[in-house]
Point group: C2
Amino acid sequence: MPHNRRTSDPRYGNRPTMKDVAAQAGVGLKTVSRVVNGEPGVTPETEKRVLEAIEALGFRRNDSARVLRKGRTATVGLVLEDLADPFYGPLNRAVEEVARAHGALLINGSSAEDPDRERELALALCARRVDGLIVIPAGNDHRYLEPEIRAGVATVFVDRPAGGIDADVVLSDNFGGALGGVAHLIAGGHRRIGFIGDHPRIHTATERLRGYRAAMAAAGLAVAGSWVSLGSTDPDRVAAAARSMLAGPEPVTAVFAGNNRVTVTVVRVLAALERPVALVGFDDFELADLLRPGVTVVAQDPAALGRVATDRLFQRLAGAGLPPSRTELPTRLIPRGSGELPPAN
Amino acid sequence: MPHNRRTSDPRYGNRPTMKDVAAQAGVGLKTVSRVVNGEPGVTPETEKRVLEAIEALGFRRNDSARVLRKGRTATVGLVLEDLADPFYGPLNRAVEEVARAHGALLINGSSAEDPDRERELALALCARRVDGLIVIPAGNDHRYLEPEIRAGVATVFVDRPAGGIDADVVLSDNFGGALGGVAHLIAGGHRRIGFIGDHPRIHTATERLRGYRAAMAAAGLAVAGSWVSLGSTDPDRVAAAARSMLAGPEPVTAVFAGNNRVTVTVVRVLAALERPVALVGFDDFELADLLRPGVTVVAQDPAALGRVATDRLFQRLAGAGLPPSRTELPTRLIPRGSGELPPAN
């Protein structure tokens, strides 16, 4: 029987089948089934090939039958953090694409960085009977989700860990990335390096600060109190912090910016200065390479964060009885000029 | 009776009341009520003051009582277009903020620019009993929403008009903005101007093309077929289109880019050229002013689009029996250098 026999079956019209996907991807039917149902045992490369074949063929799982069979709604909820932060764009889109490849509808809502809104939204999505929930947490206490998780709502945290509960989490190596970025500045001759980050209640902010401190300590460099500033990423706050550490008797010769919102403001402050000040930013951002100098960054892979988290969610939904896991994705230093400026005297 | 009497009422704990909001904003109680309930008759300035007071005091309408009274869910749905296009960030956030100020929960989903997904998602949100729907349309036929609208789901379209139904729409002056941007290039001495835009099935793309053609015609300039390219905003497609119109016997000396995704790619292509080519882009984007030359743009106000559309939605929900309206917001030309480069010979 040729592999595409069922595509010519009138009952299915021209809709592609799993067998078509298997043939296109050059893998076995069981592998396609594993990917579609989110089961383990498929390498990332193979999964990518299968997902590309699914996309190319326009394959759609027959969801209505599935929902009837499993008592599910084929809907997944995503609690976003900030709708206007471009970092989350590729992450959100990756979640959507994986959900779509699994035949699930994705419903989002944004916490706008407010723990109360996160809770309200997550519970509202559960009340609307999502099968699973992906949360970019704003708060540090997620015990409110325990009854939902017990009731069967698969839950995966991404970008930041859950607080007070044991749940799957997928995040970047924030500590190691910041450590590497600051070590890069130190290797370039800098001794007075500033750190400007997000609110200290945010996990990524404190992890990156920890990386900064570890790099400075490893090089035997003391950190003046005026060189560290955590708080809102509001441009006025960040610009004031940058100007403050660039002035005074011990001005910094380099700045490590704790996330893309901070970096963009620091770029503006530095562009108005007469002397060159080195800059490395956590997070890549659009056009960073076209600025003069190009902005050196510690890049996360936001799409991979979203993809891995959603894969994990569908593994749980497929009934894989695995213990909660913590996945940390590596970051990548991209030198573009700003981080390679020598210290000015 | 002091205005804050009820805040000390134990039944309400310390929750601020509408009277507190009125006092803080320096307006009457009826005005606050109008804003909270989305009724007409409040100037934008006053509304802004009331919304700021609501935010400052942390005022929340008592929704459970309201839902019981009106049979509503206090949930609004937003059909997004592309989660990774930064243009929509401020629009989405404005929708969220206005919904929040009205005590409503916002649930989003993204069509990823696919009409089938838009339809699937809009109907899924209706099935989950949203009171109202804001749609950034991907498709051109919205008759599928007619039964929902008849059943009472308030629906407002934003950024692009609805197709096949008569519904509220809030959009930018796409025609006028493009016309002004191209006229600006012509005033600078350009005669051979290229246009690179989005898919011709997208309303904004064709409106902006119409503006380009009108400006060229008004100046008595013929448009060579090779100067116009519509299609996907995929960087490879856009870069190829730009390179093609910059080569050949009649190369363009200026490019008008049809949206921010196109502009960013054209900036990259032009940065690699030896001769200067002028550029005006539709949509402002982050860091446009820090590039060298700064990028001249025709700026929309995406936050205002979201705000006006959501105001309209809550006016409908408040029962204002108004006929469907079309609101067009003006655009603004921001000269930054790239659009003021003279034609190279």
